[in-house]
Symmetry: C2
Subunit: 289 residues, 2 copies
């Protein structure tokens, strides 16, 4: 039973905060840029809606955030009325935003300067994973802070891992997105080719999905892709944001990501087709255009 | 107990023919371009080594082939002393070569003209799959011929599917290779990026492999890739041959395969690095060059 704050009640944060309250049994204060959403959450789950991140963090043992990007994250932490104004010594700030490794390292230092802790903890599993409380959480930070945060995070997670020092959670999430980019484009090309050749895609997947071409994406997305339905999760706009972070980091660490960069451009084409909110498997729609 | 012929005792064909003899319990005649190999096989498994494909097919109920490419396949079937010279009416020619859909349709017609049958039946699962008799076999052809051939094929297969009319087995194998091309490059970029960022790749895979980035390749190849070992199966030279078939077929059916075409070029770089016999995961070596 801890005092927990949650900042950012979007499609991910809203249910994640809910699990902290219901499964975790913690005392919750919630903040959202649009206050009405925080009030709605408080009415649904029982907790307190507050007007600023500073108010949310005040007195909390654990402060979670799940916001849009690096700038949003800086705003709700070290910005005016930000959580770091009130974050108490020894409190742990757990950031579930997919952000840069740079901002993670910066906020790790800022928290440390206050005697508090910062753990970067981006998630994967999408909206369904958040709603069902089965997210994968990739953490970076100090081991002691991680071990204290872990049982709290468990309320919305199926797998929680400490990947290394500050920023390592973000780097792991980036690796995840890089793998997905190439994989989904490959799958899209395979299905596109199969359809052009007149084959029954269900039958094809049935035969090849257990072998060397098999993947979670093939298993879980081939039916909807084959049907031209692209409303099953992580949106193209979000993927482009993530790939922007990935490609910036790669420029910094010298990694070569030719296909990731190309697929990022392809997602740009999908946006131009009006597919901003289509899921990432809509690379197939671009091929079929 | 049937009369079976096997043409082409390479790294795949040699153990496949062995399973037809040992597990299938069939009477075997084997042909190989280098006769000594056929003699070795006959000495090991018990069967008859013959000097020409025509001699192998003579009197056989089922004739298998597993040779290098379209030209080799034409040579052992409709070429001089080829199997089609002696192929009896109602016999079934089962081609395990990865070849074009075009040659499959051509030989399907040629067999039909003789009152015999042709089933294109390329395999996946690599050398290990052939040795352990657990290949996936993707078939194209007539249902009646397929149903008769299936229990014989079962001797070296874990999964056997009829994908559609003549050529459909080859198209399915092509879809398999297309999916692998994008997938392996994505995985290679992910590992390359993770190493550049100083992360523990084992730990990363442990956390992300059950989710949306997960794949057979990630599960089965990340350790060897991370260790820079590329001697675990399907070679780059063979992959380039397959991708050549894929890209030719795509030109014919109008499918757009931008990443497959790019990865084919990358495999060309690997060949230039001396990686002709490295396995397909060696795309990572190219990034690390």
């Amino acid at each position: 039973m801890a005092k927990v704050a949650f900042i950012g009640l979007g499609v991910m944060g809203y249910p994640m905060a809910g699990h902290l309250k219901v499964r975790g049994g913690h005392e919750l204060k919630v903040y959202n840029r649009t206050f009405a959403k925080a009030e709605k959450w408080a009415a649904e789950f029982g907790g307190r809606a507050v007007r600023t991140p500073a108010e949310a963090a005040d007195g909390a043992d654990f402060v979670f955030a799940c916001v849009g990007n690096d700038d949003d994250l800086r705003s709700v932490t070290t910005g005016k009325d930000g959580a770091f104004e009130t974050l108490k010594a020894d409190a742990i700030f757990i950031d579930n935003t997919t952000a840069s490794a740079e901002v993670a390292r910066e906020l790790y230092e800022a928290a440390k300067a206050r005697g508090a802790h910062f753990v970067d903890a981006p998630v994967s599993g999408g909206q369904a994973g958040a709603e069902n409380g089965v997210l994968t959480v990739m953490c970076g930070g100090d081991e002691a802070a991680f071990e204290r945060a872990r049982p709290v995070i468990d309320a919305f997670a199926r797998m929680v891992g400490l990947m290394g020092p500050a920023g390592s959670g973000q780097i792991t999430k980036m690796i995840n997105q890089i793998c997905i980019a190439g994989l989904v484009q490959g799958l899209a090309e395979g299905i596109h080719f199969g359809k052009k050749a007149g084959l029954d895609i269900e039958k094809v997947v049935d035969v090849i999905s257990k072998g060397a071409a098999g993947s979670w994406q093939m298993e879980n997305r081939h039916k909807t892709m084959n049907a031209g339905k692209y409303d099953f999760g992580f949106a193209v706009d979000w993927m482009r944001k993530d790939l922007d972070i990935v490609l910036t980091e790669a420029r910094r660490n010298g990694a070569k990501l030719p296909v990731t960069a190309l697929v990022d451009q392809f997602y740009g084409d999908v946006q131009e087709m009006g597919g901003n909110r289509w899921d990432t498997s809509s690379l197939l729609a671009r091929l079929e255009k």
